[in-house]
Symmetry: C2
Subunit: 184 residues, 2 copies
């Protein structure tokens, strides 16, 4: 089956902050841990760890290593519908740099099974570097991943990347759908 | 850093039955479970599940899903030394089709950390399909993985693939070293 599909255009999509709304969950957690809001304004143009007081920096990263944390992250608005539609025309892979938080690997597997049930686990890629991906497109919020990707990189807007200017940008999944309308 | 190394030749190596001697552990487990040996002769040219009595077929696969099973598989003879040496000249990725046994994902991470400490976790790829790999070479015991790989496939001899004739074959890690001596 894989052989027959060799000629289809391949799109790799990132998980955190692209398919999964990880930031929303992290902000809820921050409020629960510290009793204060971290506003969109405060995290604008930076990573969460660089937006919090020094003494909280380690803890806001550490929660990503907790078993279960990655299991119930909300899915990004429209991601399911658009990905399901794209999967009829393109080969979709979900590629996540999961090695910084290896405890989360199984949670991510379960998350993908639940939230993207129209993809099989043949489509999952848990990698340390996106340099290894052979795909025509990569949709990712991290400019570093796009830098090392060999195909066409598409930057998915996230709070930390708003000043990035080097890549074609999409702001949400509706814009992803519109972009691939033009790809035949 | 990744950018500087873009021009290096990339070798992806499989885990089970190439870097990790999974069959040895499975045969030990078979003896423990059933009190009889499964001989090399019995598994010659076939997968273990096809070499055992029908009523044991499911159980011999199910043990791969047990937490911990993949944590202490012996490393394949010479794999460490040869991979460490190759890593000075090539970019090495360890790519394993781990999605059939997702419970094993974290165990595989820990295994790689312990047995191949000279590689960082940037080199790990846990994928559902090896079609997604962008590498110059793939060393794998599974002909299906080599079929869908876009670079040069090298078949690592395993009990189940001895009748396969389509790929360049290496019988052990010494032969891998010799093969890559000729690659500049």
């Amino acid at each position: 089956m894989d052989r027959d599909r060799k000629s289809r255009i391949t799109i790799a999509v990132d998980l955190d902050e692209v398919t999964a709304d990880t930031v929303s969950k992290r902000l809820v957690r921050y409020r629960a841990d510290y009793g204060v809001e971290l506003s969109q304004e405060e995290i604008r143009g930076k990573q969460i760890r660089d937006a919090v007081p020094l003494e909280r920096k380690e803890a806001v990263e550490a929660c990503l290593d907790e078993p279960g944390f990655s299991r119930d992250i909300p899915v990004m608005p429209d991601a399911q519908r658009v990905l399901q539609s794209l999967s009829t025309r393109f080969d979709i892979f979900v590629a996540t740099s999961a090695m910084d938080h290896p405890v989360s690997l199984y949670d991510r597997y379960l998350w993908l099974q639940e939230y993207l049930p129209f993809l099989t686990d043949r489509s999952y890629v848990f990698c340390g570097s996106k340099r290894i991906l052979k795909a025509d497109f990569l949709i990712d919020d991290n400019p570093r991943n796009l830098e090392m990707f060999s195909g066409t990189g598409i930057l998915f807007t996230a709070h930390h990347n708003i000043y990035e200017r080097r890549f074609t940008r999409v702001n949400d999944w509706e814009e992803v759908a519109a972009y691939f309308e033009r790809v035949r």
